[in-house]
């Protein structure tokens, strides 16, 4: 037992002396060793940085898709492209397009596996209280909105079925809007004015999805969801009407559109129904829409696509990083071959003094590994710093994963071994007598 421990500590000591010797030999040519390391430093650094950027980008994409809900299918009204072209000169043209109340009802009744159908009318109006006025989205919807869109009721309540049936003039507003309209008062006791009609505030809502932007009334830009007023769908129908008129951007006359619903969100009972339901919904809508006036967005598919994209992205980035590591490795091998030639006589001397071939192999292999792992460690340090700088300077999200650091470190070690073996065995195979005679 005692002998065994002393033996293993002896081996550790030996390895330590070989590593120390390697470092000593490398320090003899500091510039050369540094330049050689640079290849590995860049390689390892690029592995970590690229993976961090890729991970960050796909994380952002996946998060925003996940917010849409993976068991949801989103259908949006689209202004058909051909009509919008020639309507420019026509002053009194009324454009009818988009999803209808009937579409929503048909989906609810015919597509199997549907849990909820959430219709939404989204109009843009100015909302007033007292002297304050804020441009808002007026969203006419049903009481299930918070469950499907993932919004929280902070105070009071959301709309209820009775409000809808009786076309009550009530509304729920987002927290951000409440802060703007009611800096001093309690909003729950007040009413806001939209288009000359008063709506009593019954609840405060916080949208989880506030960074998301939603198109409305053919306008693709949309406001942040922070300034939202939710009213019962039937109230929206009766108070605001189906017809939306707005001033043309060219300045001449008015443009009129008739859109019943701007969006229908279909929530399935489970994600496994989503793909079948998507094609059924498309078939169903196609039968009643002769224009191409809607789009179907399936977050689940987007998510899968994002995952695929991420995999391809990782492969591409990985290959680039691998190539740079390969180049670094070739650089190391080149230098080690030169070193072996330069130190031929030392090799001969060591052989004469009792070194076996494998002692020489070990010596040069350790030297290469010290070089590559040294480069690897510096590369990791730089590689961990750079993503922070990127995030700080560009607001691009980066995520350094533990396995990418591990991978980079492993690769640098593997590069050292892979590109060190050949020079080291060349050194070991030298004939001692010829090596001793070498000038």
């Amino acid at each position: 037992m005692n002998r065994l421990t002393s033996l293993s500590s002896g081996t550790a000591n030996r390895l330590f002396s070989v590593v120390r010797l390697g470092i000593k030999s490398l320090l003899l040519h500091k510039l050369r060793s540094g330049l050689t390391m640079l290849g590995i430093i860049f390689g390892v650094c690029s592995v970590i940085v690229m993976l961090a950027i890729g991970e960050g980008a796909s994380f952002e994409a996946q998060e925003s898709i996940k917010k849409l809900g993976s068991e949801n299918i989103i259908i949006r009204s689209l202004k058909p492209p051909e009509e919008s072209q020639d309507s420019g000169g026509n002053r009194s043209f009324e454009l009818v397009y988009g999803l209808t109340y009937d579409d929503g009802a048909r989906i609810q009744t015919t597509v199997p596996g549907v849990r909820y159908v959430l219709p939404m009318r989204i109009l843009r109006e100015n909302v007033r209280f007292d002297q304050f006025q804020v441009p808002c989205q007026i969203i006419g919807t049903t009481p299930i909105y918070p469950f499907i869109a993932g919004a929280d009721v902070v105070r009071g309540r959301f709309l209820c079925t009775i409000d809808d049936r009786h076309q009550q003039n009530i509304c729920a507003i987002t927290v951000g809007l409440a802060r703007r309209l009611f800096p001093y008062q309690d909003p729950l006791t007040k009413a806001v004015k939209v288009n000359g009609v008063y709506y009593r505030v019954v609840g405060l809502i916080r949208e989880k999805n506030s960074a998301d932007q939603r198109s409305q009334a053919g306008d693709m830009e949309g406001e942040p969801l922070d300034n939202n007023v939710y009213i019962p769908l039937n109230t929206s129908r009766s108070r605001m009407g189906e017809l939306i008129t707005k001033r043309l951007s060219s300045g001449y006359g008015m443009e009129a559109e008739r859109v019943e619903l701007h969006q229908i969100t279909v929530q399935m009972q489970d994600t496994e129904f989503v793909e079948v339901a998507e094609s059924q919904i498309k078939a169903l809508l196609d039968r009643f829409h002769d224009k191409n006036d809607y789009e179907v967005i399936v977050p689940l598919q987007l998510l899968r696509q994002a995952e695929r994209t991420k995999r391809i992205f990782n492969i591409v980035l990985g290959s680039i990083a691998a190539i740079s590591l390969l180049v670094g490795g070739i650089g190391i091998m080149n230098i080690m071959l030169a070193t072996v030639t330069e130190r031929t006589r030392e090799i001969g001397v060591r052989r004469a003094l009792g070194a076996r071939k494998r002692d020489i192999t070990t010596q040069f292999l350790v030297e290469t590994i010290v070089l590559s792992i040294g480069g690897g460690i510096i590369g990791i340090l730089v590689g961990i710093t750079v993503p922070f700088l990127i995030t700080h300077l560009t607001e691009m999200q980066t995520i350094i994963t533990f396995w990418s650091v591990l991978l980079a470190f492993g690769i640098s070690g593997a590069v050292g071994i892979a590109f060190g073996i050949y020079p080291a065995s060349t050194a070991a195979e030298l004939d001692p007598i010829e090596a001793l005679r070498h000038e």
Binding site: L28, E346, R350, A352, L353, G354, I433
Partner: protein, 259 residues
């Protein structure tokens, strides 16, 4: 074979093949009989040793002399286990070297032989003490345990105050002293020196030779190649070589010793 014999060779031949061709002259029993003129004309091979019988006893001091190209260095390489004879026998301390593997040769070099080279051959990135340690390292010794011994050896060759110096900070004579200390590190059976004073001026050379004399006086077996008669005079015995053969051996009845 007496236990006192350190080296015994019989019919030792070393042939270098040139250009990978089949040699014209085959190695047989009568290799010594082939006339030199015929060998010189043979462009397929060089017979550096043509059948050498040597016997060296423990504690002897033997010098090897001979014209350039007579095979002195070749013989020293084989005796030092850096190379194997093409044919013939070589026993070192009772072990047959001619049939050993590469690893066994390495081991026997490290354990039983001390080398002193004409051009010192110290390892440039190591200090004096570390250079002396190298043979011990390859014997698997723990370096911290051997430190004291190496300091003693540095002291013995008169370099007690140069322990942490590197080879390029030392004079030629000092470097050769380190090499001598290094050759002693493993307490070898014998020390082989190929023209150890060849790169030194005569007075420094004298100092080195005095040191070697002292090692011999302490009981070390010395085998030394030289071109210098004055050097050879210090040895007990001088082996003269010619064309890969031992020409003659001369015993020195009164070797000049260190004054």
């Amino acid at each position: 074979m007496s236990r006192n014999d350190i080296i015994r060779t019989k019919g030792m031949v070393k042939r270098y093949l040139l250009g990978g061709q089949e040699p014209k002259i085959k190695i047989g029993e009568d290799i010594r009989a082939i006339p030199q003129e015929l060998l010189i004309k043979d462009e397929t091979q060089v017979l550096a040793l043509r059948g050498v019988d040597i016997l060296i006893r423990n504690g002897e001091y033997v010098a090897i002399m001979g014209p350039s190209g007579s095979g002195k260095s070749t013989m020293l390489s084989i005796l030092g286990c850096l190379d194997r004879p093409t044919s013939g026998e070589y026993f070192l301390g009772g072990e047959n070297v001619a049939t050993m593997t590469d690893d066994e040769l390495s081991e026997i070099r490290g354990r039983r032989i001390g080398f002193i080279f004409q051009s010192y051959n110290l390892i440039s990135q190591l200090t004096v003490i570390e250079n002396i340690q190298v043979p011990l390292f390859y014997q698997g010794k723990d370096l911290s345990e051997t430190w004291d011994r190496c300091v003693e050896l540095a002291d013995l060759v008169g370099l007690a105050d140069r322990q942490e110096h590197r080879p390029n900070q030392l004079s030629g004579g000092q470097q050769q002293r380190v090499a001598i200390a290094r050759s002693l590190a493993n307490d070898p059976l014998m020390i082989l020196a190929d023209e150890p004073t060849g790169n030194l001026d005569s007075s420094t050379g004298q100092e080195i030779l005095d040191l070697i004399d002292r090692l011999n006086a302490d009981g070390k077996t010395i085998l030394l190649v030289t071109h210098d008669n004055a050097v050879a005079k210090r040895a007990h015995r001088v082996i003269h070589m010619k064309d890969g053969l031992i020409d003659r051996e001369v015993n020195n009845r009164q070797p000049t010793t260190a004054s």
